[in-house]
Symmetry: C2
Subunit: 215 residues, 2 copies
């Protein structure tokens, strides 16, 4: 493991960029491939996409950090992007994660945390500022209050709900699971009863919310 970890920085604020550069350069096993003030200039550098870890600011002139992250991941999925930002609003956080960021740090974090985070990423972790981590976890249990206002689906029902969610009609599903369309309908009625809904749309929505629908 004598390999150096290649790091790049995309941050438009010169002061912050230099501070990060200095910080990371001090680590003997890190090598700073480059630091850029925008995604555009970063992409001009062919070596940029060979980075192991890229720290990307979210607020950038031109292509913002979220779109930039998307582009990076599309061009080379192996690059690990850590989002570095002052924004902690839902929209940005989830958009960034959705774009493919593997970590999300608030700039209010102390500098040492950045080093730790890079190492955490290299070890297969996903560093998040505590506040972000909580936000992310909360997105999983948004239903804790009104939760379990439905009955558990059995295997057949789960299967059928999943097929429904793929846009298949009663008839197609019937073919697929060797039942008559009436049989499918029978199960769907039970699904609706258990989920307390009366349309396919609601059933699919609840299916996703309660993670009954895979994929």
């Amino acid at each position: 493991m004598t390999e150096l970890t290649k790091i790049s920085i995309v941050e438009d604020n010169e002061f912050a960029r230099n501070a990060l550069s200095d910080l990371l350069s001090q680590e003997k096993d890190f090598v700073l491939l480059g630091s850029y003030d925008s995604c555009e200039t970063a992409f001009d550098e062919t070596d940029f996409l060979n980075s192991d870890v890229v720290l990307v600011d979210i607020n950038l002139p031109g292509i913002n950090g979220i779109v930039g992250t998307e582009k990076i991941k599309n061009k080379n999925p192996k690059v690990n992007v850590i989002m570095l930002t002052i924004n902690d609003d839902d929209e940005n956080v989830f958009a960034a994660l959705k774009a493919g960021a593997v970590g999300y740090l608030l700039k209010s974090e102390e500098p040492g945390k950045v080093i730790d985070s890079v190492r955490e990423v290299l070890n297969g972790g996903s560093p998040m500022s505590p506040y972000i981590a909580r936000k992310v976890l909360k997105s999983f249990h948004s239903f804790d209050v009104k939760s379990r206002e439905y009955d558990e689906l059995n295997e057949m029902e789960t299967k059928i709900l999943n097929l429904l969610s793929e846009g298949k009609s009663y008839n197609k599903i019937a073919d697929e699971i060797f039942l008559s369309s009436h049989g499918v309908k029978y199960h769907i009625r039970n699904i609706y009863l258990k989920l307390r809904v009366n349309t396919k749309s609601e059933a699919i929505s609840k299916g996703h919310k309660f993670r009954i629908i895979k994929k």
Copy 2:
């Protein structure tokens, strides 16, 4: 902040339970309310639900940790549950988070991490073992490869897709947004085009996957 943090433990393995108890008792600002070998015995203790933080093992005889967590959160949502487990398979992780756990630690974690995690929870964070954190983040960008195989919806389309997901018919939606049902249909056709689908079911599924549908 001279308040003591009340902690409880639910762990069936006696050795592990005692180790945790000893560990946590050494912190001056923590007070161990109780340690139990099952959810059942824990719930017998009325004070249990007054805990600030509860460490729950996932594999428990009788009521398992996930169902137990659900029960805890239903009875007192203020209790912060940290899941403590050897299981790192998807099903368990997501089920636990869904149940309302605010942290998820693998037992392979070093002991000091438990103390840190309790403090992190108290500070509004969500401690997760690195491996778990990565898993959780990944669940947000499972589409990074095939990503953006759809066009962005505009405001009206987003609104309509959300209404569709609630099981509303073209007519109901039309009433709600002051359009004719034909107008609604016009937008829905565009939604299907942009999402590259041709049924409501698929549209709703994609809407959830890409987080276009709120709630």
